[in-house]
C-alpha cells in the first residue's frame, strides 16, 4: 500500500497544449502554435480529399479505354484534384503549419506580430475550404485548375464562380499569413538575433511571403474578372467582343508561376535545417543560400509566360521568357550545390528527417532540370501539355515540396507534440514514399515524351501506353501507403510515444532551447542571442572538463 504513495509524481509542466482544454480554447485561440495545429488538421483533411481524386484518376488510366468514369467526370476529377492540392493543401502546407509554429520561436518572439489576424487567416481558409467542398459536392468544376478562358467564362456549365470565390478567400488567408511573417521577421526578432543569425528556414519563409503578398492579389483580381464576366456578363477576356483570352493567361500565370515557389521555397527552408542538423555542420555558404531564396522570389516573377509558349504569344517575347526561365534555375542550383557541399565531410546521421531530405535533393533536382527542358522553346513544343509536364511538376511539388513537408513534420514532431515518433517505422515510411513516388511519376516522363497528352481519360488508340500507366497506378498505391503510415504513427505517438526531451536532435536554433512542447509564450524568459546560426561545432564540442591538477 505505502509503495503506491511513494511513486514520484512528476508534475507536468504547463505548455501550450495542456494550458487550456475544450473546443473554444482551440477555436478562439490566438496562440500561433495552436493555430498551426488547426491548420495541420485542416490541410491533412484536404490532402486526403485531393488524394482521393488522384486515386480515381489513376484507376481510370489503368486501362486504355475510358471505362471507369465518363469523360466529363474525369475532367472534374483532375480539376478538383489540382484545385484542392494546390490551393488547399500545398500552398498553406509548410508556411501555415510549420511556419506558423516555428517562425515566432525561431526569431525569439512570443507570438506572430498579429495573432488575431493569424486566427482570421485560418477562418478564411476554412470558409474557402467549406465553399470548395460545397462546390465539389454539388457538381464541381471541369476546366482544369487553370480555369482558362473562354472555356471557363463562356462555355462550361460547371460551378466556376463558386470555386472562384473559394480560391479567392483562401488566397486572402495566404496573404494574411505572408503579411504576418514579414512583419514578425522585421519587427519581432529577439535581442541579438541579427539577419545573418536567422535560420535559413526564416529566410525561405520571408521570400515565400514576398511572393504571397505580391502575387496572390493578382490571381485574386483575375478571379474577380472571370467571375464578373461569367455572372455579370462584363466582357474582359471575351473574344466575341474583341477581348483576349491570352490576357487571362498572363494574369493567371503572373501569380501561378511564382506560386510554385510559394510551394517549394518553404520546403527548401526545411531541408536546409535538416541537412545542417544531421550532418552536424554549419550550412555551407549561409549568405548564398539566404539570398538565393530572395532571388528565387524575385526572378520567379519574370518567367511566367513559359507556360504560354505554344498559346500564341509573340515569339520575341517567348524568347525573353525562355531566357529568363534559365536565370531562375540559377539560385535553385546554388542551393542544391550548397546543400551538397554541407554534406561533404559531415558526420551524417540517417534519421527519418534526413531520409526525406535526401529524397528531396534527388527529386527536386530532377524536377528542376526537366523544368529547364520545358523552358527550352523548341522542346516545349514537343512536350507541352503531355505527361512530361505532369511528371515535371510532380517531381517538384510532390517529390520536393511534400517530401520537405514530411521531413519537417518528423524533425519538429517532438517539439510540436512533446513525443517521439517510432523511428523504425518512420524510416520505413520514408523509403516507401520514395519508392512509390518514383514508381508513380517516372513512367510519366516516358509517357509524356512518347506523346501521351495530359487530361485525356481514354488512350485506346495508343494501347502501348498501358504498361507504363499500370506501373504508375501501382506506384500511386505504394505512395498512398507511404502517406498513411506517418499519419497513423504520429497519432499513435501522441498517446503512446516516449516523451521527447527539449532537444532530442541536439539541434541548433532557438526553438530547441525551450521546452517540448513549448509554453504558451514560447520561452520562459526572453532569449538573447549571442551565437551564430548552425553552431554545430560548439554544440558537439566535448564539454569542458574541470581538470584538477594536483601538485
Amino acid at each position: 500500500m505505502s509503495m503506491e504513495i511513494a511513486i514520484p509524481q512528476t508534475v507536468e509542466r504547463e505548455n501550450y497544449l495542456n494550458k487550456e482544454y475544450g473546443v473554444w480554447s482551440w477555436l478562439l485561440t490566438t496562440d500561433h502554435k495552436r493555430i498551426a495545429l488547426l491548420y495541420l488538421v485542416s490541410i491533412t483533411f484536404f490532402f486526403f480529399i485531393g488524394g482521393f481524386f488522384a486515386l480515381l484518376i489513376r484507376l481510370e488510366l489503368l486501362t486504355p479505354a475510358g471505362d471507369l468514369v465518363q469523360a466529363d467526370t474525369y475532367n472534374k476529377l483532375f480539376t478538383m484534384h489540382g484545385m484542392v492540392m494546390v490551393f488547399f493543401f500545398l500552398i498553406p502546407s509548410i508556411p501555415a503549419v510549420l511556419g506558423n509554429f516555428l517562425v515566432p520561436m525561431m526569431v525569439g518572439a512570443k507570438d506572430l506580430a498579429f495573432p488575431r489576424i493569424n486566427l482570421l487567416s485560418w477562418y478564411l481558409y476554412i470558409i474557402g475550404g467549406a465553399i470548395m467542398l460545397h462546390c465539389m459536392l454539388t457538381g464541381g468544376v471541369d476546366t482544369g485548375w487553370t480555369f482558362y478562358t473562354p472555356f471557363s467564362t463562356n462555355f462550361t456549365n460547371t460551378k466556376i464562380v463558386e470555386a472562384g470565390i473559394a480560391i479567392f478567400i483562401a488566397g486572402f488567408s495566404s496573404i494574411l499569413t505572408g503579411l504576418n511573417f514579414v512583419v514578425t521577421i522585421h519587427r519581432m526578432r529577439a535581442p541579438g538575433m541579427t539577419w545573418s543569425r536567422l535560420p535559413l528556414f526564416i529566410w525561405a519563409h520571408y521570400a515565400t511571403s514576398i511572393i504571397q503578398l505580391l502575387g496572390t492579389p493578382v490571381i485574386a483580381i483575375t478571379i474577380v474578372l472571370v467571375a464578373c464576366e461569367r455572372a455579370l456578363h462584363l466582357g474582359i477576356f471575351d473574344p466575341k467582343l474583341g477581348g483576349d483570352p491570352l490576357l487571362f493567361q498572363h494574369l493567371f500565370w503572373f501569380y501561378s508561376h511564382p506560386a510554385v515557389y510559394i510551394m517549394i521555397l518553404p520546403s527548401m527552408g526545411v531541408i536546409t535545417e535538416i541537412i545542417a542538423c544531421f550532418s552536424r555542420k554549419r550550412i555551407f555558404g549561409y549568405h548564398f543560400v539566404a539570398f538565393s531564396s530572395i532571388a528565387i522570389a524575385v526572378f520567379g516573377f519574370l518567367v511566367w509566360a513559359h507556360h504560354m509558349f505554344v498559346a500564341g504569344i509573340s515569339i520575341y517575347s517567348a524568347l525573353v521568357f525562355s531566357f529568363l526561365s534559365y536565370a531562375v534555375a540559377l539560385p535553385s542550383a546554388i542551393k542544391v550545390f550548397n546543400w551538397t557541399a554541407t554534406l561533404y565531410k559531415g558526420s551524417i546521421h540517417y534519421d527519418a528527417p534526413m531520409l526525406y531530405a535526401f529524397g528531396f535533393l534527388g527529386l527536386f533536382t530532377m524536377g528542376g532540370l526537366t523544368g529547364l527542358f520545358l523552358a527550352a522553346l523548341g522542346l516545349d513544343v514537343h512536350v507541352h501539355d503531355t505527361y512530361f509536364v505532369i511528371a515535371h511538376f510532380h517531381y517538384i511539388m510532390v517529390g520536393g515540396a511534400v517530401m520537405g513537408y514530411l521531413g519537417g513534420m518528423h524533425f519538429w514532431w517532438p517539439k510540436i507534440s512533446g513525443k517521439l515518433y517510432p523511428e523504425g517505422w518512420a524510416r520505413l515510411a520514408a523509403l516507401i514514399v520514395f519508392i512509390g513516388f518514383n514508381l508513380t511519376f517516372f513512367p510519366q516522363f516516358v509517357l509524356g515524351y512518347m506523346g501521351m497528352p495530359r487530361r485525356y481519360y481514354d488512350y485506346s488508340h495508343m494501347p502501348e501506353f498501358q504498361v507504363l500507366n499500370v506501373l504508375s497506378t501501382a506506384g500511386a498505391t505504394v505512395l498512398g501507403v507511404g502517406y498513411l503510415l506517418p499519419m497513423i504513427y504520429f497519432l499513435w505517438s501522441m498517446r503512446y510515444g516516449k516523451p521527447a526531451s527539449d532537444n532530442p536532435w541536439n539541434a541548433a536554433g532557438l526553438e530547441w532551447k525551450t521546452a517540448s512542447p513549448p509554453p504558451t509564450f514560447n520561452f520562459d524568459e526572453e532569449p538573447v542571442v549571442t551565437w551564430e546560426a548552425y553552431n554545430y561545432d560548439e554544440l558537439d564540442a566535448p564539454p569542458q572538463k574541470q581538470e584538477v591538477t594536483v601538485g
Binding site: H186, I210, L214, V218, L246, L247, H250, F254, F301, L302, W304, A305, I313, S314, I315, Y316, S317, V320, F321
Partner: protein, 98 residues
C-alpha cells in the same frame, strides 16, 4: 509626448499640399480638352503621378518616415507593378500579327 509633432505645426504644409492637389486636378481637367495628340496621355499621367507622390510623401508621411523599410515596401510594390505591366506588354507590343 511625441515631441516633434508640437515643435513645428505641419498644418501649413497640409493646406499647401491640398491646394496644389486641387490646382493639379483643375489643370489636368482643362488640358484634357486641348488637342495635344499623344501628349494628352503623357500630361495626364505625369500630373496624376505628381499628385499621387504628393499624397504619399506628405499626407502618408513617407517624407518624414525615418524608416527606410517603408520606402522599400512602396518601391517594391511599384517595381512589381511595372514588372506585371512591362512583361505583359513585351508580348503585346511585339506580336507581329496584331
Amino acid at each position: 509626448m511625441t515631441g516633434h509633432a508640437s515643435a513645428k505645426s505641419p498644418l501649413k504644409m497640409y493646406f499647401a499640399v491640398w491646394a496644389t492637389l486641387l490646382v493639379f486636378t483643375l489643370v489636368t481637367f482643362k488640358v484634357a480638352f486641348i488637342e495635344l495628340g499623344p501628349f494628352n496621355a503623357v500630361v495626364a499621367l505625369v500630373i496624376a503621378t505628381l499628385k499621387a507622390t504628393l499624397v504619399a510623401l506628405f499626407f502618408m508621411h513617407i517624407w518624414h518616415a525615418g524608416e527606410r523599410l517603408i520606402k522599400v515596401a512602396v518601391a517594391a510594390a511599384i517595381f512589381f507593378l511595372f514588372l506585371l505591366l512591362g512583361l505583359t506588354l513585351s508580348d503585346y507590343l511585339t506580336r507581329p500579327w496584331s
